[in-house]
Symmetry: C2
Subunit: 341 residues, 2 copies
């Protein structure tokens, strides 16, 4: 490129920027402000609280300012970024793996939890004892490399269908939360998943579904082992739980992986209580957000008691802690991206 | 700001950029190329190999191109980014803590490993049994919040002096490696520490010393626990080792925290062998780097056998694996930043 072309190219950029930008603000901030960054959220206190927090976080010199390096936002996954009914989707993945592997395991016809999974008795999930859980984990989530496991998850996502919506599970993500993730990132926040779900399970789709890269996913883990065989290094998943990223474990996982306290956290169950406390019970600008499942028609309505996503203590603490509670039925115009097509 | 001021400000930026930039390349790349990005490295095969790898990594369409998201570089800390002689600096921190706490522990006068630490018998370190190690860990690295521990490390760094150089330990970082970190980041690499050292110990200085933020430090960990007492949430360090980020553990730690395979790894001992293998034994552009301690005058000369930083197997594998070995004595013009003042 000659210098003239470079100059003309840069000049074009310059004038395009000036044309698009009202005075006194960065181009991107104004471009976003002209359109609604959260179009799937109904106007109201919830949306206003979120928009206000983000606007203040980037307003230098204001009381709600958050320096860029501290703009850490953490999101639970099951029930917060995608649905979790009628059972956690990762459990569906495990059941599917059992069905696929059953021909090689005739003994499963008479062994729990495999027998109940194969006969379709879903009650087994609620009462999975420790040994049954370990056996299921070993059969479906271990004994392979991390890459091979990721391949299994991707194959499942490509073929399995949710029983109610008859769509791939990764289409049951929440459109309003996608907009929130995008809005936070557009304002310099680093968005993390912090979930009780399996780390490698979530990494298989988090980037494509949410724009969250593997290094920003925190989850439950199995013990893994490095092996070098035939000049091929591999990391193997073993059938042993290493870390449960749920409840107090979420605060521990955040500290271990991020090493900074988030300023924004979103969850939907009592498994998110300690993450919300750890994030918000500190001086300075803080935001706690709870997705309350109140829409039995478009999604599901549940809180307490509930086998999945029990929400009691976190909801009770929300008023005193200043956490914002999303009423899914009234706050969200749509639930899933496919509703918009 | 009025639109005229914005236009003039942008125009000034534009012409400054054009003035600085030779034709056909991004401004920053050319600005860096005009000056040497690795001024503390002597010309030779080592420097050329590094510069060539980075230049190829950003050259779109070339055989060595690495997409931005995959530009992950991992560095060991002890002996790779700072010195590790006469003992690992974290051990010095532990010894100092023992001396500071001794008045409250009269029983230490007759109990190992405290007795030897207090009498200055350094041989104890080499032979620390498991129980002695656990006792030392409990006394010096646990029973406090993560924040309080970080404060202890910072106080130690501010007051302690290295026995040979009579300088703060965090001044014994390698100037050539600082330049390498900066050069990698200027070319879109995300730089991580992956070290056997303690995670929270390293986080206390990694950002200031190396420009590596807390979320890009991977290290050995103790078990931690979330507690909420008197409306104050805290994460407490317990006297139990959780994970040793050394040897095969480095590959495991990388996969767990980053979830991507690095394309660049640097180490100095056999504790880095598996990280180097995991990084480089794969198709595509890969770079393995070993700091060989060959300079007994300006730093230390050691490899095998050595109680600290033993380097035998990784050095033996370097030729067949194509790893670049830094000869500290001949490749580096200076060792420490303070030599340049």
């Amino acid at each position: 490129m000659g210098v003239d072309i470079v100059r003309r190219w840069l000049a074009a950029l310059l004038f395009a920027a000036l044309a698009a930008a009202p005075l006194g603000s960065p181009v991107w901030a104004q471009a976003e402000a002209e359109s609604d960054p959260l179009p799937s959220w109904n106007e109201g206190a919830t949306k206003a609280a979120i928009l206000n927090f983000v606007a203040e976080a980037v307003r230098e010199g204001g009381p709600g300012y958050v320096p860029p390096a501290e703009r850490i936002a953490t999101f639970d996954n099951d029930g917060t970024l995608w649905s979790e009914q009628p059972v956690y989707f990762q459990a569906e993945f495990a059941f599917e793996r059992v069905r696929a592997l059953a021909p090689q395991h005739p003994e499963w016809a008479t062994t729990e939890p495999f027998k109940s999974i194969l006969t379709g008795d879903r009650t087994v999930l609620a009462d999975l004892g420790e040994q049954a859980f370990t056996d299921l984990l070993a059969a479906t989530h271990a004994g392979m490399t991390v890459e091979d496991f990721e391949g299994e998850v991707k194959r499942w996502l490509a073929t399995a269908r949710h029983p109610r919506f008859d769509r791939p599970y990764d289409e049951l993500i929440y459109q309003p939360m996608l907009e929130l993730l995008t809005h936070l990132r557009a304002n310099g926040f680093k968005t993390y998943i912090v979930s009780g779900g399996g780390l490698d399970f979530m990494r298989a789709f988090a980037d494509a579904a949410y724009g969250i890269p593997p290094e920003q996913v925190i989850g439950s883990t199995v013990v893994t082992e490095f092996r070098l065989e035939d000049q091929t290094p591999a990391i193997i998943r073993l059938p042993e739980v290493d870390f449960i990223d749920d409840g107090p474990g979420k605060a521990v996982g955040i500290q271990r992986v991020i090493g900074r306290r988030p300023v924004f956290a979103a969850g939907n169950s009592d498994g998110d209580l300690q993450m919300l406390q750890w994030t918000t019970m500190e001086e300075g600008a803080r935001f706690g957000l709870i997705v309350h499942h109140t829409d039995a028609v478009r999604e599901w309505a549940y809180d307490n008691p509930s086998v999945i996503g029990q929400l009691k203590e976190a909801l009770a603490q929300a008023p005193e802690r200043g956490w914002t509670v999303i009423d899914m039925k009234t706050d969200w115009k749509v639930i899933y991206p496919f509703e918009m097509k």
